[in-house]
Symmetry: C2
Subunit: 366 residues, 2 copies
């Protein structure tokens, strides 16, 4: 699989351009992107060290080195024992008496940052974002077809979810059932679906609860699915109403739908991230609900469920072909309900493609 | 629930003793310990700021503030909007022109550490461990009874697991079935059981695979269960043999069993962590398998699955009543099998209590 060594070469080119001498990449999406290796983060340091020139190393606990047999080892494996300090290995890889600029991955644990800073006191530690996020932000055709494939499965999930019996079920009951539906599609849910019914929906990151669904409840559902299909995530939200439907809900729903569609239509290479947020926000604001759309319009998605580009006011980054992100405006009315419609979209040569394709018509559920 | 404000007061006492002016605690087990609030880590900063004197603050995204309604808010909530930089709030809480020592939690994301360091250039950032780990390392009776309760459930899980049909099943099949058994006990598994059959068992952190169990395979099983019961973890390993049993396996099993038991019997307040590791290791080494026991004897467990105290060579920390950790020696024979026996134990006034109580007799499974 030369894909990983190719990515490392591209990272090295960016390192030369950005003045970064070494990348220190701990377990997580950046390590998976560069090496194909994944494991849960822990207090035992596992670190991929990529110098701008020369030999690459994977630092790992000795007893975990056997796990690396499952991936292409295009680097030197350097092991430490439970009774040793892995920082001593870093001092053999980077001269502690010389100034060096070291880029660290965003999600590396703080305790490692502090230990590295005291182990290599002459080094300057910076974010590896200018190297890694800038590579990861453009998805290649292989990645986009993976994400599209997950999208098709998530579409089928939604088709089945709207046939569930909502009235009288708790949010947690529904989340359990949705988890089974997600599994039936061959996806492995990493977390429970986020479900918010009635007034709970007014909190955009509501934690699924034991509240029972009532007649005419507005309900939003995050049909996410975690990092298991080759490491890529799915993130999809739909809002429905429990029968019987009401005019207020329907009217508000149409505003969110129009905002989501208009933002989608504005996406093309060359426009700024913040301009896409502004398009969706304008529609909601002009309808009088601006203060109830309390979050950004979207976020990038790939090996992380949230990653650049962020579609938010103040982000003047310009869209490029191959960027993938969510389009998810919402309106959250305290004491009443919340509505959010979210698709994942990919920037194409001259516009955008929805990777998810479920209807945006309001569905009234049982 | 004064439990959380009490813990904060205790932390403040330790801050005075250790010269730490502020704690910056991001989402995770430390935040849960101090405030009862939990959420998944993300690129949006949520930070509990505890000064050694004065007002406490929870910094959070504005649209997520509603989630805090579910917990006791004994602090000031300070919100930022998606279009704002949360670092500006930190500059209002800590004078950026003054020297201050700031303790950060071990698992805070590196990107936040770098941003904090540049936002507060006069501050010195250190590990919050001397404050927080030292509080968390001693479990109170409420915590121990929670952990004991989980232990009883994990004991029932093991009783059912040994009745499964191993021969012909894959590791992943078994992991799925074990997940259901764990759920039936009212526990919510956060990850698949780690199962390693035959030669796979030689890798102590083997990733559960589609290898099919064969006759006379040695099998170790990590029957873990994640952070869901009031935030506390369970971690339990047992090793079995698929019928028919063999002399080699049985003989090796007995060595691990004796090591595990002897280490347990050595636990009491006042002895060092490394001495407990040495007791178990000596038995395995004298039996000629020292090089095949490739990890530490144990790790603390509580709100994190791995936390202090670490039962490892070089750790001269002395045990105290209320410490809780794993006793889990193992022997891993390349190309053959692995054996590990793990219980969670609590240090008592004059010895130790096993919080898990399944048999250590070798069970031969179908």
């Amino acid at each position: 699989m030369p894909i990983f060594s190719d990515r490392c070469r591209k990272a090295q080119t960016r390192m030369h351009e950005t003045g970064i001498d070494y990348l220190f990449v701990s377990v997580g999406s950046d390590m998976f992107y560069l090496t194909g290796y994944s494991k849960k983060p822990s207090e035992r340091l596992t670190l991929f060290v990529l110098p701008k020139n020369g030999d690459q190393s994977m630092v790992t606990a000795k007893f975990e080195a056997a796990r690396l047999a499952n991936v292409d080892q295009f680097y030197t494996v350097r092991t430490w024992d439970d009774a040793e300090d892995p920082m001593t290995i870093l001092r053999t890889l980077v001269n502690p008496d010389k100034k060096a600029t070291i880029g660290i991955d965003d999600q590396i644990w703080g305790i490692f940052v502090l230990r590295m800073q005291s182990t290599l006191p002459e080094a300057r530690f910076v974010s590896a974002g200018p190297v890694l996020s800038q590579l990861r932000i453009i998805k290649d055709s292989h990645e986009i077809s993976r994400l599209r494939e997950m999208g098709r499965k998530m579409d089928k999930v939604y088709e089945k979810v709207v046939k569930l019996h909502f009235t009288g079920s708790t949010e947690l009951d529904l989340a359990e059932q949705i988890q089974e539906i997600v599994k039936d599609q061959g996806l492995k849910p990493e977390y429970h679906a986020g479900i918010a019914g009635g007034p709970n929906g007014a909190s955009p990151h509501h934690s699924t609860s034991d509240r029972v669904m009532e007649k005419s409840d507005g309900v939003w559902m995050e049909l996410g699915c975690g990092g298991h299909v080759d490491g890529y995530w799915a993130d999809k939200t739909r809002s429905v109403q429990v029968a019987p439907s009401t005019d207020t809900f329907r009217k508000t729903y149409e505003i969110v739908r129009e905002a989501q569609q208009s933002a989608f239509e504005a996406i093309r290479p060359g426009v700024t991230c913040e301009s896409i947020d502004a398009v969706g926000r304008k529609i909601i604001t002009e309808a009088g609900y601006g203060e109830y759309f309390s979050h950004r319009l979207g976020h990038g998605l790939g090996l992380d469920i949230h990653e650049p580009p962020y579609i938010v006011q103040g982000n003047t980054m310009r869209l490029q072909e191959g960027m993938v992100f969510s389009d998810e405006p919402g309106i959250y009315l305290p004491g009443e309900f919340g509505i959010r419609i979210e698709d994942i979209v990919a920037v194409t040569k001259d516009g955008a493609e929805r990777l998810y394709d479920s209807t945006h018509e309001l569905i009234v559920v049982k």
